[in-house]
């Protein structure tokens, strides 16, 4: 094979070229909140709405992360950190691919979200706080996890016997108590479009 490399190969396809191709700026939107707060439901609604509006977005959440790349991690403190580290690294890859990345993870502490922000890069990291009171999350208990946490069947559960530290200065906060899901989606989509529109 010739060692005379054609100049076109001297440089990788840049993120900015992908952004032009997709007609959007890429960024990470990090949804944090209690289990059952509605994070993933809202993120999935946002993903679909963005697609309808011509934007390419991808939700990363427990369903596609914990069952795939992070299926060898436990819920120990060390593994929770590694869980978030890998998610942040994948988000960084996605952003460099030009894609709007919607991460939906409890990510309960300031420290763990700070880790994610440092990996992704501050300019690309937007914190969206899905603020749903614990009482409501627990009443819903879609996955039956709060019941298990209360009975002691599972331990270290955020909001019950493990702390949730609310974001101090999120880019967007949804108080969902008196907000329909589609209203929440609207608010997030509006914020994202302001960020990603070219």
């Amino acid at each position: 094979m010739s060692e005379n490399i054609h100049p076109i190969f001297d440089r990788l396809v840049k993120r900015s070229e992908r952004e032009v191709f997709l007609n959007q700026k890429a960024s990470v939107f990090w949804f944090t909140g209690l289990s059952g707060s509605g994070k993933s439901t809202i993120a999935e609604g946002v993903e679909r709405r963005l697609l309808e509006l011509g934007y390419l977005a991808q939700v990363l959440d427990g369903d596609n992360i914990r069952k795939g790349i992070n299926n060898n991690l436990s819920f120990s403190i060390e593994d929770r950190k590694e869980n978030i580290r890998r998610i942040a690294e994948i988000s960084k890859l996605y952003v460099n691919s030009g894609i709007i990345t919607l991460c939906s993870f409890i990510s309960p502490t300031l420290k763990i979200r700070s880790l994610a922000k440092n990996i992704v890069g501050e300019n690309d990291f937007h914190e969206i706080y899905i603020n749903t009171p614990l009482a409501i999350c627990e009443k819903r208990d879609v996955k039956g996890l709060y019941k298990k946490a209360r009975s002691g069947e599972i331990t270290g559960f955020t909001g019950i016997d493990s702390p949730y530290e609310a974001p101090l200065n999120p880019q967007l906060e949804l108080k969902t108590e008196n907000l329909a899901i589609d209203q929440g989606v609207d608010k997030v989509v509006q914020y994202i479009i302001e960020t990603v529109r070219i």
Copy 2:
């Protein structure tokens, strides 16, 4: 927040919807070959050519994987396996995002590539063998690694003191010895477009 979820939220954005949006079928193209065989150079050329032709592709290689998500892995046998497992899981995420994924990794054994194929799924996994004789790779020695391997400064180096098992039945094989890089890129692009064209 209302528990009456609008029907549109009942389902996630499907891979097929993203493929329609991007006007391409997604798949993983897995480049295997010795260190210095030209895998990444070809993959990068393919990535750019595809973009020019209107296709969205992403190269995953040592540069964006080993320095990011896999920066906590060594070159032990166990960690090499974990390296490939994570790459395959990320490729699966990318394919579900509708993106043509170009993986460029030595991935020296039948077993390790089989692991990758099983994770990605057989229908989405295309093996591209960059067949460059060891003597040529060693003569180039772009990164100076062969020299270090010969001197014993590094051990377990593929082709020197660790085996490379050529694919038995790759979807595409490039014998690069008498092939210019852009010719190699042409061949791969042609094969990929036949696969991803809608």
